[in-house]
Amino acid sequence: MPELRELYDAILNGDHKTSAAVTREAIDAGIEPMELVSGYMVPAMDEVGKRFECEDYFIPELLLSARAMKAALELLRPLLAASGAKSAGRVVIGTVKGDLHDIGKNIVGAMLEGGGFEVIDLGADVAPQKFIAAIKERNPQLICLSALLTVTMPSMKTTIEAFKEAGVRDGVKVIVGGAPVTAEFAREIGADGFGENATAAVALARQLLQAA
């Protein structure tokens, strides 16, 4: 019987090799994938988020933990799909058109994944059309837009407007974030929410999708 607590520790310590190894053992031992996700991985990433907020962890540690979590998730994904297990929700994330800053976006994506969401990452410099295509093809409930340049913040507005024109706005929730973005700006452009950091993004996603 694998020591599952090691999965929690491996993620917290950013050790992707151990995280994958314990997961593999757990799968071989016939442990339910969902038990690993909600029992160990989500709590570990919750703790990572807390440590980041109180500045015990910084960007290097956060990225390492995210990678360790992903190493486990990669192994579990096919099993989760086969078992028909429901994720907390399907999310499409991307940095808006004209902006290539993606460190924050990647962290938000990883924390959402760590929070039990299914995350489709469209990368950086993502045109509105690309978001729309992803909405049509993948049926997400939540869209996350990131921007770090004030000169690309207007792209957030354009993107939301394009959603309306394409008739897909009502089917999804849209949240925005990134260094210069504010709650006020989010309201102005008709987003459903704003998150100051990755932990806030996860809380917001949970809240919005629960209400939906």
């Binding site: 960007i59 990225l63 390492l64 004209g98 004030t150 000169v151 950091n197």
Partner: protein
């Protein structure tokens, strides 16, 4: 006071006759080529394409006529090779995606992808994989990650040191010529000789190398600060040694004509916090910075210049301890970076080079009146007793209205009590 004396006074924390102004002396205190073109037009200068002297951020060169019109006190000297590994020579015309005709180096070779994205090549070699991309309607290039698969046991710090080699005599000679030309006009000289940027995230992907080895992916690099700290120490240690040897050679050639040396542009701050802890900074960076700064101070009259964006309030005491004389860009819009607090707490020990106006909101989106008000206020706060060189917070971005840039310059002149240029 001459421009040089003015800057020298400011750098030595003595009140200059007026606040000195920098634009264009480094690749973090510059102006996007489109705005340089607009400024030339505003000041009624000769109509001709602007030189793009830093092709990745597409920064325009400020020529003598524009510097005079704006009242700039500083000249910049740059290393011979640009971010894409070619030098600024054999200029040719190029049209930006917005249709502006500009001059770019001859080796600025591009191809266009199916979706209109523009790709550029290291050393202008179209046979090498492209090292950066400008989106179809973009304003600048971004590095393409070219990370070879990492085999942990085979990682060798040498792989991350390809770009940090002993400087060639020909390069020393060209720097000497450039420094002499820059100093001739009576302005202060800021030099970027290269080699002492420790882990600058803009340089890690090495868009200037054809086949970069080692750790070149941005996320991989950040993780390495924690998971492969010995490896990073090994890179920094070697880099430090070579960097100082190069500075010694360069100093022997150029002497004390340089006023400030751009040491490093590694960003430690984000909008709300920092990339790493103060402890990590003190373990991983401080020893090398201290080495370089000590060498410079023991052997030259140069002041040392540190750039770091974001909320670095908590790092400033360590920057000072490491021997930095100058901090840039002083991002007052980030957390805990209020101008009055910075001036009161550190103003006697470090020079603020920047902080003159916010480039996230006020300069690009404010009214000329709002720009003027903020500039006057920042000049008042930062200039007391010297220790301030006026510059925007980082480069002036594309699409910044020219009226706002002009309002900013005029406000500095107004503060200085100098007649506004036509």
């Amino acid at each position: 006071m001459t421009s040089k004396e003015r800057v020298a006074a400011a750098l030595n924390h003595r009140p200059p006759d007026r606040v000195p102004i920098d634009f264009g002396s480094t690749t973090v205190t510059g102006i996007h080529v489109s705005c340089v073109a607009a400024l030339r037009e505003h000041y009624g200068l000769e109509r001709r394409p602007v030189y793009v002297h830093e092709p990745s951020q597409m920064l325009g060169r400020l020529d003598e006529d524009l510097k005079q019109a704006m009242g700039v006190d500083v000249n910049g000297v740059f290393r011979r090779k640009t971010m894409f590994g070619f030098s600024c020579e054999n200029w040719k015309l190029w049209r930006t995606p917005q249709g502006l005709e500009v001059l770019v180096p001859g080796a600025f070779e591009t191809t266009t992808g199916d979706n209109g994205d523009i790709y550029i090549y290291p050393e202008g070699d179209l046979h090498a994989p492209p090292s950066a991309r400008m989106p179809a309607e973009g304003y600048f290039f971004d590095a393409i990650m070219r990370q070879e698969p990492i085999v942990e046991e085979q990682l060798n710090p040498e792989d991350n040191l390809e770009e940090f080699q002993p400087i060639a005599d020909a390069d020393v000679a060209s720097l000497k010529a450039e420094v002499e030309a820059a100093a001739a006009g009576g302005r202060a000289v800021v030099a970027t000789f290269g080699g002492t940027a420790f882990g600058d995230i803009a340089l890690v992907p090495a868009p200037f190398l054809k086949h970069p080895k080692g750790i070149r992916d941005i996320a991989e690099w950040y993780m390495s600060l924690s998971s492969r700290r010995d490896y990073v120490h090994a890179i920094f240690a070697r880099q430090c040694e070579t960097g100082i040897a190069n500075l010694a050679k360069i100093h022997a050639a150029v002497g004390d004509l340089v006023d400030a040396l751009f040491i490093c542009g590694t960003d430690f701050g984000t909008q709300s916090g920092t990339f790493c802890s103060v402890n990590t900074f003190r373990d991983l960076w401080l020893p090398y910075y201290r080495h370089v700064n000590r060498w410079v101070h023991a052997n030259t009259s140069w002041k040392t210049f540190k750039h770091s964006c974001g909320s670095v309030d908590r790092f400033i005491p360590s920057f000072i301890e490491a021997g930095f004389d100058i901090l840039n860009p002083v991002q007052c819009s980030a957390a805990n970076m209020d101008a009055s607090h910075l001036k009161a707490d550190y103003g006697d020990r470090i020079v603020f080079w920047g902080g003159g106006v916010d480039t996230q909101k006020v300069l690009p989106f404010g009214t000329p009146g709002e720009v003027r008000r903020q500039v006057l206020e920042r000049c008042r706060i930062f200039s007391a007793g010297g220790g301030f060189v006026f510059n925007t917070i980082h480069n002036v971005q594309a699409r910044t209205p020219v009226e706002n840039i002009v309002a900013m310059i005029e406000a500095v002149h107004e503060f200085n009590g100098v007649a506004v240029h036509a």
